[in-house]
Every structure is written in C-alpha cells, then in structure tokens.
Symmetry: C2
Subunit: 318 residues, 2 copies
C-alpha cells in the first residue's frame, strides 16, 4: 500500500485523462453501472464545519474509493486552509488498501472544477461573452482555471461578499490569462455574463430569475450539503434544461432539491450530466435557452480522479 | 499527520485504557452526547464482500474518526485475511488529519472483542459454567481472549460449520489458558454453556429459544449488516433483558431488527449498553434470567480505541 503526499500527487495529475475518466464516470452513474450510496455527512457547530464522506465503485472497475473531505470555516483565521481531506483507493476484489492520496482536499477541488468545465462543455452557449464567477473561495479559482479547457472566453466578472478576496482572485498569479474585473453586485454579473458559476457557501439564494438574460448557462457548485442554496427555485422554472450530476443526491440536498420541494419543477424535468454527455438532444439546443447544471459532487468523480492518479503513478506517467 | 502501521499499533495498545474509553463511549452514546450518523455500507457481489464505514465524534471531545473496515469472504482462499481496514483520526476543530492507523482491520477486531467483554461484565451470570462460542473466525478468538478480563471461567465449547477451524481454535497458541472442546452441534453448546457468544456471518438464525437454559447470557456480534441474523426472533421474546450497543442501528439491521420486525418484542423493551453500564437496575438481576446483548458495532468504539492509541503513542505510553 502506497501513501502519496500532495506534492507528488500534483506532479502526477494529468488533467486530460482525469477529465475523460470523469466523463466516463458520469455516464456510468446515469446508466446505473455504479454503486454510490448516500453521502456520509458530519456537521460541527463550534467551530462550524462539515465533513463529507463519499464512497463507491463502478461495477466493472477494479477499485472502490472512500473520499473524506472537510470544510472548517474558521480555519483561515487560524492560518489554515478551509478544506482538507484524503482519498483512499481499495482493491475491489479483496478490500486491500491500494493507496492513500493525502491530497489535503486538493483533488476534491480539482474534480469539482473539472465537473464545472464538463457541464460548460455541453451546456454553455456557443459564444461566451463573459464568464461570471459568484464567490471568491477556492472554487472560484478552480472553476475558472478549468473553464480554459472548454471556452476561449477570457473575460471574467467576479463578485463575492468579501471584496478583498475578490481583488485577490483578480490578481491571482495563476489566472494571468484572464481579464478579471470585480463586479459591484450580482446583478451586474447576471446582466453581462452568459456563463455563470456560483461557488458560495450561502444558505439563502443569491441568483434570481429576473437577474438572468436568455442564453445564459449557470453552473451551481456551492450547495453541496443540507441547508445550502445559491439559486432561487423560481429560476429553475425558467430554465430550458436542468442538469444534475446525481439525481439521487438532488433529491436530498442542493439547489435542485429546493426547486423540487417548492413544486416549481417536476422530477422528470431533471437530467443527469451523464445523459447529457451521451445524448446530444439533451444538451443546449440554441443560444436563447437558459440552462442550469446543479452539481453536488459525486463519489464516482472521486473514484475516477483517484484511479487516474494511481495509474499514472504506477505506470510512471506524469 | 502521523501514519502508524500494524506492528506499532499493537505495541501501543493498552487494553485497560481502551476498555475504559469504550465504556465512556457507550455511556456518551446512550446520553446522546455523540454524533454518529448511519453506517456507510458498500456491498460487493463477485467476489462477495462488504465494506463498513463508521464515523462520528463525542460532542465534548477533540477528535472525529472515520473507520473503514472490509470483509471479503473469498480472501482466505487467496491467502489473505478476510478483514482489512484502517482508522483515521481528525482534529474536530479544524478537520486536519491527526493520524492514520493502518490497522488492517485489527482494531475493529479488538474493539468488537472488548465490546463483547463489556456486555458480559454487566450481563453474564455470576458463575459462568462454560463459555460457548458459535463460529470459528477471527471473532471467536477475540471474544474469548477478552472474556478473560471479566470472567474466571476457562472452560469453552466451540462449534462452527468448519470443523477444521474449530480444531484450530482449540489449539490456538494464544488461548492456552482455556480448556477448549469442539461441540458436535449448537444444541450441545446451548445445553452446557451459560455464557454464549455468536460470531458468525450467517443469514439464517442458528440459535433458538428452545436451545437455551435459564440463566444464560448471549452476546451476538455476527449480524453487523443488512440480511445477517444469528438468533431467532422468538428467543428475544423469552429474554429478560435485551441490550444493544446502539438503538438507532438496531432499527436498521442485526438480530434485534428482525425481532422487532417480527412483532415479538417492542422497541421499549430494548436498552442500550451505556444505560446498563450506568444503571445497575438494568443489568442482570439474578441467575435465572436470560439476557441478550446484540452488538452491531458502533463508531464511538472506533473513535475511542483510535484516540486511546493515538494518546498512548504521542505520550509515549504504555
């Protein structure tokens, strides 16, 4: 059993192969070729935090994964990153641990960023005028970083409650290829951007249907736990396509959960990302449609990124 | 973050402190001072196996644990042990991993054995004539080993489907203090033993009420997953005390789950082990009573054993 620390993991992260593996994972998930039980959730009150345990396997695969990822929101004040965690890969035939990826939550950030870029690949309008980023945390960075894989647009508007962090994102040394401006409010983002990614931890919706212009695609990745909601339910009723990574999870939490609960949309209106990858008819059909991808994060993505890194490590590939 | 391998873990295992910690854990659990969500379960068909993920914390404590334990039943044919796994301890204030105990499932065996001895401490008859062990796997050994802490009886009858493994247990070099005989059938165990521990993986009940004589205590530790059942439900109806480690888990699986489902017992008849530790009136009251402890294994035991080992390691004890 091998144990890999973050520096080594970063060296062996081959984004194109991970992205391809994740697309295969989303397709396997929608075809019910995976076993991914409900997410294990731990909540902490003082200090406020949560820990998500995602686990599962692809039936035809060789491994199962257990991924542990935490968010403790007071950590930055202590000089620590908010997120932490690890991924553990096991032999599916024997239960033997194969490797521990001590990624400190990094791979969860990467696969969440890549899931956003996969959603944009299939749902964003053909011409992106400006990318809108709502929120200024780690995912604001990762979503932007991996959107370069699927759009040529480099104009960005960012908005968040913390103006300092918005300015830090604008000046981020690894986002130099973008022209990033800080928006005064979310309405400005909605009026100027037709590819919007929401990445906040909010418990009260920020984005409303009257904000959004026709032709916009929204990827919502912040509401990954009970109680969190970024997009007002009425916006779902105005969407031409509603896509989630996992329908089962969308029944339990996330923006889609609230939209369903409100009665403004029906379960049948929701498609899984794997279906959209497989079937062109389920993608955006024109540049007037409003599309939403609500991603709560799925175990099969953790599995696929862990497997790709392990295979790259053991095959000696980058 | 420290990583400890099995040999080092075994060196730092201080059984009395672990046992005391586990009793505190059972008490905290019954007083609802713990957060221990439902067990995460993965099942595998080919080859047959399962993986249990237990996780949680004591509200007043410093750590949370994630414990991963697997059982793959074809492993012995491949020269591998059935069980495997690890425990990971995290700082409850920040989510930072504190240590990984690569125990290969050993600590799950130890805490399961100790839970059995704790149950016997409070529920076994005052004079144990003979210990009956049903099953011949790892728990047959661990249950016996730790019963030495709570009873002076060294007479043992063992029965299992696999006669060779029953003989191996009889000759086990680390059980030399016992006089172990192999019983021809489970009825012999029931007729001669008044402290019986069932440790099998069976899906059809083995122990029936007409087998059992008055004054017997039964600890059932095998049925730790959906579908498994060792004790026929009617035996519960004949018991004077029904004790479980976790009522919440007993609603979901295990022998008590089936007894409740059958309608032969009521939920109110069930007590948690922590209550029995706290309240003498809930223990065995005389040597004619039949008592059952149905243990499905709780995250708080994993937490407590991991914390005790980590503290021993870092304090340089024992």
């Amino acid at each position: 059993m091998k144990i890999y620390r973050l520096a080594e993991i970063k060296q062996h992260l081959d984004i194109p192969s991970v992205m391809a593996g994740m697309e295969e994972g989303f397709v396997a998930l929608c075809k019910k070729e995976t076993v991914t039980p409900p997410v294990g959730l731990l909540h902490f009150d003082d200090p406020k935090g949560d820990c998500h345990i995602k686990y599962g396997y692809i039936k035809s695969g060789n491994y199962y994964v257990v991924k542990i990822a935490s968010g403790f929101y007071d950590n930055p004040r202590k000089g620590l990153p908010t997120g932490n965690g690890m991924m553990i890969l096991f032999d599916k035939a024997t239960g033997t641990p194969v490797c521990i990826l001590l990624d400190e939550g990094y791979l969860t950030d990467v696969r969440t960023g890549l899931a956003g870029s996969i959603a944009a690949r299939y749902l964003a309008p053909s011409k992106v005028d400006c990318i809108g980023i709502v929120g200024t945390g780690a995912q604001a960075f990762f979503q932007l970083k991996y959107l370069t894989l699927v759009t040529s647009c480099r104009k960005v508007l960012v908005w968040g409650r913390n103006h300092e962090k918005a300015l830090a994102l604008k000046r981020h040394e690894n986002l130099g290829e973008f022209q990033i401006e800080v928006a005064p409010n979310i309405e400005t983002i909605a009026s100027k951007c037709n590819l919007i990614v929401t990445t906040t931890n909010t418990e009260t919706p920020l984005l409303f249907h009257h904000h959004i212009r026709p032709g916009t695609h929204i990827t919502a990745i912040g509401a990954d736990d009970v109680g969190k909601q970024e997009i007002h339910s009425a916006l779902f009723a105005h969407a031409d396509r509603i896509v989630v990574d996992s329908k089962n999870q969308a029944m339990l939490f996330g923006d889609t959960f609230y939209a369903l609960k409100s009665g403004l949309i029906e379960k049948d209106a929701i498609r899984e990302l794997g279906e959209v990858i497989e079937d062109k008819k389920l993608r955006r059909q024109n540049d007037e449609q409003i599309t939403i991808a609500d991603l709560t994060g799925v175990a099969v993505s953790d599995l696929q990124i862990a497997v790709k890194i392990y295979e790259n490590m053991t095959l000696g590939k980058p």
